[in-house]
């Protein structure tokens, strides 16, 4: 820990210590090869998610050009198969990049589908995590800070959510709400971004069902920090509960929250893929899970349309998990092993 000159104001002191704490964590993180590898994957996913449409070989559906590989069928004779294996292993297309991961029975390019799906993956991962963390921090903070019966009730409720196989409920809820969806996309006027309605519903439901284990973790951390001496000192100085929670306890939990968020993103992506794969996803948004679902029935032939989107999921989730583990090692050395 950096030594501080005496006489400085207390605020400055804590700020500087905060900065150096992050710097130390970053230095430690840089030495962790697995963590850096995870960070690279995560950054790549975000990059493809944001800029993917600029370099995808074919546009996203419902643009008719998305089905262009379909027209590789000889227009005159009509002979050919839409279901092309990955071009690099297709004897008809030696050394071609035309359809790197093959094409689907409806004539889309798997590679382009994956690239266009990336933005939904990012959307799902980030938004589910924001909802989950907001809920679990609220519940964890209230339970951990107020203790007694409040804690007891909240923890019993979280147990219900933990014991219950929540994926089952998620499926019905998603089904109920997506059945009655009207517009497939909501237009946000000024920035001109289209929000997929069905997918957003799925995301909200995933977030609402996932808070329990994170909330318990944050409650535990809250209990630990609450007992620390400086909190006692603040209380003795007359600081109010809200001030103690937001100014003193939460900043101390920041590192844990960041680590858990990274792991939650990974879990959220897996969960959405499962929901979509089971056929409960938003048919208007071609997420990676959706690609798997669409081609599942023809898997015997178009195995490539199952293998590559799955690898995309695996790599992304692996990246977030590595990042989370790396951050955990760097920021919470006491949690190691």
């Amino acid at each position: 820990m950096a030594s501080n000159k005496t006489g400085q104001k207390k605020k400055e002191k804590s700020k500087r210590r905060g900065a150096s704490q992050w710097a130390v964590a970053w230095r430690r993180f840089k030495r962790n090869k697995a963590g850096i590898f995870g960070l690279i994957i995560v950054m790549a996913v975000f990059f493809v998610g944001i800029f993917g449409s600029f370099f995808a070989p074919y546009p996203a559906r419902p643009d008719p050009h998305a089905y262009d590989p379909f027209y590789d069928i000889d227009p005159i004779t009509g002979i050919g198969d839409v279901r092309k294996p990955p071009s690099w292993m297709d004897p008809e297309e030696p050394n071609s990049w035309k359809y790197l991961f093959g094409t689907t029975p409806i004539g889309t390019d798997v590679f382009s589908d994956i690239i266009h799906g990336t933005k939904y993956t990012v959307y799902v991962g980030v938004l589910v995590t924001v909802i989950t963390m907001a809920l679990s921090i609220a519940v964890g903070a209230i339970a951990g800070f107020y203790g007694r019966w409040v804690d007891n009730i909240l923890m019993r409720i979280s147990e219900v959510f933990l014991v219950f196989p929540s994926l089952l409920l998620i499926l019905v809820f998603v089904r109920i709400f997506t059945v009655s969806v009207g517009e497939p996309f909501l237009n946000i006027p000024i920035i001109n971004i289209q929000i997929p309605t069905g997918l957003t519903i799925v995301i909200v439901i995933l977030g609402l069902f996932n808070w329990a284990s994170n909330a318990r973790m944050i409650r535990g951390e809250f209990l630990r920090v609450r007992e620390l001496e400086f909190i006692e000192a603040e209380r003795a100085l007359g600081a109010g509960n809200i001030r103690i929670i937001f100014r003193h306890i939460l900043p101390n939990l920041m590192s844990s929250i960041i680590v858990v968020s990274s792991l939650t993103i990974a879990y959220a992506i897996l969960l959405e893929a499962a929901v979509s794969f089971l056929g409960f996803g938003d048919a208007n948004t071609i997420t990676w899970g959706q690609i798997l679902q669409e081609n599942f029935s023809e898997m015997r032939i178009v195995w490539w349309a199952e293998v590559f989107p799955g690898i995309a999921i695996l790599l992304t989730v692996f990246g977030f998990n590595l990042l989370g583990d790396g951050l955990s090692d760097a920021m919470n050395p006491r949690l190691r092993d």
Binding site: L171, S180, L292, E306, D337
Partner: protein, 320 residues
């Protein structure tokens, strides 16, 4: 011991009630359930609607409806499926065994495999083997369950033709010409998927616990008493390390069982999970809620069994 079990049972009542409330209000999640049912199935007959109204007492206030439903539930009257009109308890009864079989075999196998791997990994912390095991298990945690199933089917069923890709029994013909071998052949792939998923978590947990326990005083004392390394690790350390793993299993049973729909869907397994996906898709509320409650009860029973095992493994629990 008896008192402990009774206490655990009493403790489960609020959890059961909580879940039943959530399950019940699924129907009301988006307003009038009848409208939702009509949305899911436009050509539903008036007869079925009427039957539903009677079963749930849809004309009465909601708390009364819940109590009616709960009373029916406790008498094993789950209502009738909206499709085909067969009693739900009868349907569930014919599916539940397949799910239990699949899950039980997988959980036991996952434990049998993960214990020696986790221990070895902990004993040789930071060795090449340890690093390989920890990174592979992180990879395992990152893999979508169902996707692993797809890959296995593509390789072992479609490409190599060694194993069946779907179902629990060979309907058209028997694999390996024998009903028992046939059943095993059908189990191999789904069990592999489930074991692999649990394995990763288990190994990580056992490794972490073992690392802590191998540093404890009583292990040092056991070594100092001249006990063999095998006895020290597999008798004195293991029993202590296994406790938290079992606790974790108890907590995650819900999630494990929740994974059932995925595996069962991929392998077209004739179990509860597979049927649940269909029922949820059609918004067949009586069936959905019935399966929900059955799976809940299964989870609670399994949790109880695990709690009892834990008491047996760690005698200190009894006093708490």
């Amino acid at each position: 011991m008896f008192r402990y079990i009774v206490r655990r049972l009493l403790y489960m009542i609020p959890v059961f009630l909580g879940i039943s409330i959530i399950s019940f209000f699924v129907m009301y999640a988006a307003g009038d359930p009848l409208n939702i049912i009509r949305l899911g199935r436009p050509n539903i007959t008036q007869e079925t609607i009427d039957a539903l109204k009677v079963y749930y007492g849809l004309d009465k206030p909601i708390p009364i409806q819940y109590l009616t439903w709960l009373t029916n539930l406790l008498q094993f009257n789950f209502g009738k499926s909206l499709y085909g009109g067969r009693p739900v308890n009868f349907l569930i009864g014919s599916w539940v065994w397949e799910t239990v079989k699949l899950q039980l075999i997988s959980i036991l196998l996952a434990f049998a495999i993960s214990i020696p791997i986790g221990i070895n990994s902990a004993k040789k912390q930071y060795s090449k083997q340890d690093i390989a095991v920890t990174s592979i298990s992180l990879f395992g945690v990152s893999m979508p369950t169902f996707w692993l199933g797809l890959i296995l089917i593509i390789i072992f069923s479609f490409q190599l033709g060694w194993l069946p890709s779907a179902g629990a029994y060979g309907a058209p013909y028997l694999w390996w010409d024998n009903p028992v071998l046939d059943e095993i052949a059908h189990l191999i792939l789904p069990v592999t998927v489930l074991v692999y998923v649990m394995l990763a978590q288990n190994i990580r947990l056992i490794r972490a616990n073992m690392l802590e326990i191998l540093r404890s005083d009583y292990i040092l004392a056991a070594r100092a008493s001249g006990l063999s390394e095998r006895k020290v690790v597999y008798k004195y350390a293991l029993r202590n390390a296994i406790g938290p793993v079992i606790t974790y299993l108890g907590i995650s049973l819900g999630a494990i069982i929740a994974g059932a729909p995925m595996t069962e869907y991929v392998f077209n397994w004739p179990g509860l999970g597979r049927r649940y996906v269909d029922a949820a898709m059609r918004l067949d509320f009586p069936l959905v809620m019935g399966i929900n409650m059955v799976i809940t009860v299964m989870t609670l029973i399994a949790t109880l069994i695990i709690d009892i095992c834990y008491v047996y493994i760690d005698p200190r629990i009894r006093l708490r």
